[in-house]
Symmetry: C2
Subunit: 191 residues, 2 copies
Amino acid sequence: MPRVSVREKIVDAAVVEFHRGGYNGCSVETITKAAGVPKGSFYNHFRSKEDLGAAAVARYTEQSQWEGVDPGLPVLDQLRDRFTAQRELIEANGFTRGCLIGNMGEEAADHSLPIRAQVQASLAGWAAEIAVFIRAAQETGEVPAGLDAEQAGRFILDAWEGSILRVKAEKSAAGFDSFFAHVFGILLALS
Amino acid sequence: MPRVSVREKIVDAAVVEFHRGGYNGCSVETITKAAGVPKGSFYNHFRSKEDLGAAAVARYTEQSQWEGVDPGLPVLDQLRDRFTAQRELIEANGFTRGCLIGNMGEEAADHSLPIRAQVQASLAGWAAEIAVFIRAAQETGEVPAGLDAEQAGRFILDAWEGSILRVKAEKSAAGFDSFFAHVFGILLALS
């Protein structure tokens, strides 16, 4: 299935290139070159650069998906571990690149309906994953029962995306430290 | 002082154009055209587009600066009012554009040292403004004394920037509602 394979190569290259250079910062040609496919093959697989942008956000979201709750272990520790793993990835990149979902949302949400729709879906899916952990932690009594898990999941994700913006600007982990201190030390903590 | 005036016109136009189109989404020519100045005048005033990017973030930050605490009024209400005013601006724009500091940070922090430095300074200054309100509210007993005001100021700003990303993606105010519910209803609330 050579067609499928070319499309996959282009999407994989787009994830890397958009993450590194930004959406407007790299061209279709940069991406086809990085993918090692003929430039002319692009429009056999995508109607537009926007469509590729949306596909790249979807692929990144799949790649970043968390493992679900392991019922045998303390739940809040697992949620902290998921965020710690993402923190470590960003630290390993020298605080560059950040989160592709957030970057594409900031840069392209106003200008492209397909990208905006995918960013919205990716944020909603991720917030729902966080909410699953919060509800499970409420069942084990690790998190206050009164917290609205869905609402808190969305807020925590927003705070996470904001902290990524700060670590990118500061090239230091301080933004992550505030995130962990406030989310795990106050918001989700039993009083 | 015609030189000063041309420079000012370019910076003002850049704030509008970068906010609307993104940093890589608009050219020096777009900006000089919007400013109504000759394209050739640009390099009399700026070494590069990056320098203009940094100047635009600085100008936007000045324009967005909050009035300080009024000691005669409840402090937490004043902090809520500051965020409400910014929320209303973004709602009035149909949830487009977002925050220029955040946008430029996401898009250009990895690619431009002057822009990154200005984004970092703007975020730090704004977080410090929030911290002033938190400390004042701690003095009036409206906010728990145990909270680290500086750290909380930074976290609240990160959460705000993240909520702006979400309202841009969703074109709805739900992200702001979560922000207010968690920041004023939990984080800053007396238990």
